[in-house]
Amino acid sequence: MEQSVLKINHLKKIYHDKNGEVEAIKNIQLDVFDREFLSIVGPSGCGKSSLLSILANLEKPTSGDIEFAKPNLKIGYMLQSDSLFPWRTILDNCLLGLEINHSLNDTTKKRVIELLKTYGLGDFIDKYPSSLSGGMRQRVALIRTLATDPDILLLDEPFSALDYQTRLALSDDVYRIIKNEGKTVIMVTHDLAEAISLSDRIVVLTKRPSEVKKIYNIEISNKSTPINNRTTPEFSAYYDKIWRDLDVHIQ
């Protein structure tokens, strides 16, 4: 567990536009361990999403770098919106990543079909996204991310577009899928309950320009599914502490 897969070194990000510059990330220093579920929480606008974008190589950091334990580590990014293409079937949506990096063949296709079947989407393989509920669409989006077999998964508020019940049920599903597939996860969220119930560790960021404020190891006795974790006494204790760290004021 304590073996780090990636190291974020003195990361800094400044955005420029006509009206000036904004320092989104001041200095983030962080180790991510193999197969852990790490959540990043922080006040809104603290640069959580920028951090994910940098990790996914969609943006370049202003300074600092990211050091991977092994070369060629693959990263999968699951966006906030499911972004399923309405003109593609569920299966074709899930094959998108493989098509793009030219690794679509019978073996990989079979693997994706297996994934869909295993996680309860077997009946929808040839359906179009419009016939699926929000929760199922998000599950398809996760499988689309898993299809390229990434080592590290980045989740950007994966449940935020869903209603409360679906969100609880889906977080259980996603947790199970990710643990089964043995992935390392970095999730950004503003939902503390979600973070505590899913994560092994939680990183609290300060408000912009952000730095790491605190890191919590979430230790829950009788740790089981995310929904059950919510009922443990430790859960509310963590909730209380992290809430105070966030230091939210309505102005």
């Binding site: 996914a56 190589n57 969609l58 999968g76 990014y77 966006l79 906030q80 919106s81 972004s83 293409f85 003109w87 593609r88 998108l96 990543g97 098509e99 793009i100 990096n101 390229t148």
Partner: protein, 263 residues
């Protein structure tokens, strides 16, 4: 059908009845209009020299068909329209792609497109006749003036309005610009492109008729122009009626294509 409840069958019946009612009303309106027109002409409530009548129009169509090669007049108008339509659609898609591909080009060309688009193209008619000559070519060029710019603008606007998160998703998979174009921009804009084809076919027809009015020896626009010059209002009205039918048919064909592509 049998698996549905009675209520649902009633509902379906009601939908069907409504659809039939709309069709019947649509057809009735045209029939009533034709009858009123004919009756008014028959009892000399209107001057048939100025306003013609359905039976006169019908007779004119027959005589045009037998004596004046009506089919070739319609044919040349359709031919010119389709030429302009195809060229405008193909160049429209190519230029829109280019503008989407290169932000610099699109920013540079933006004011020019706006000016050309807002310019009344009829003003260019005389110039085009001088430059291209009084021929089918100049008519197609005139029609292109009207349909091309609007096609480019419509398709390009569709391209840049493509869902941002679709593009971000493609980037998370390290997609190339070409892949983003072929896997998101094009398939995501099928309906935009078909809509612009619909506008394009009407615009092309407008352009062709305008061109034929200015310069031609053939076509429906020519018949209208000729009819008005010899004060044969009958011929003018007949040509306009035929033109209406032709434009409806062309629009209908595009709708069929649309149904094929969009479910």
């Amino acid at each position: 059908m049998s698996t549905y409840s009675d209520d649902h069958n009633k509902f379906l019946k009601k939908l069907k009845r409504e659809k039939i009612l709309i069709k019947i009303t649509q057809i009735s309106i045209i029939i009533v209009f034709l009858i009123l027109w004919e009756v008014a002409a028959h009892y000399e409530l209107i001057n048939t020299f100025l306003y013609s009548s359905p039976s006169k129009v019908f007779k004119t169509i027959i005589s045009l068909y037998s004596k004046n090669n009506l089919i070739s007049h319609i044919g040349i108008t359709i031919y010119e329209t389709i030429c302009s339509f195809l060229i405008a659609s193909i160049i429209g898609i190519i230029v829109a792609t280019l503008l989407w591909w290169n932000k610099f080009i699109s920013k540079v060309l933006d004011p020019y497109l706006t000016v050309i688009n807002s310019l009344p193209k009829v003003a260019l008619g005389p110039l085009i006749i001088i430059w291209v000559g009084a021929s089918t070519n100049s008519i197609v060029v005139m029609a292109l003036m009207i349909s091309l710019i609007i096609s480019i603008i419509n398709i390009y606007n569709g391209f840049i309005a493509t869902n941002e998160s679709f593009i971000k998703l493609m980037k998370t998979f390290n997609a190339s610009k070409m892949q983003i174009f072929t896997k998101v921009i094009l398939p995501g804009n099928v309906s935009t492109i078909i809509n612009s084809l619909k506008i394009n076919i009407s615009m092309s027809l407008i352009g062709v008729i305008m061109g034929e009015l200015l310069v031609s020896k053939k076509g429906l626009g020519y018949l209208i122009m000729y009819g008005s010059q010899v004060f044969n209002i009958n011929l003018v009205i007949t040509s306009v009626v035929i033109l209406g039918v032709v434009s409806y048919i062309m629009y209908y064909v595009i709708s069929l294509i649309e149904k094929k592509f969009i479910k």
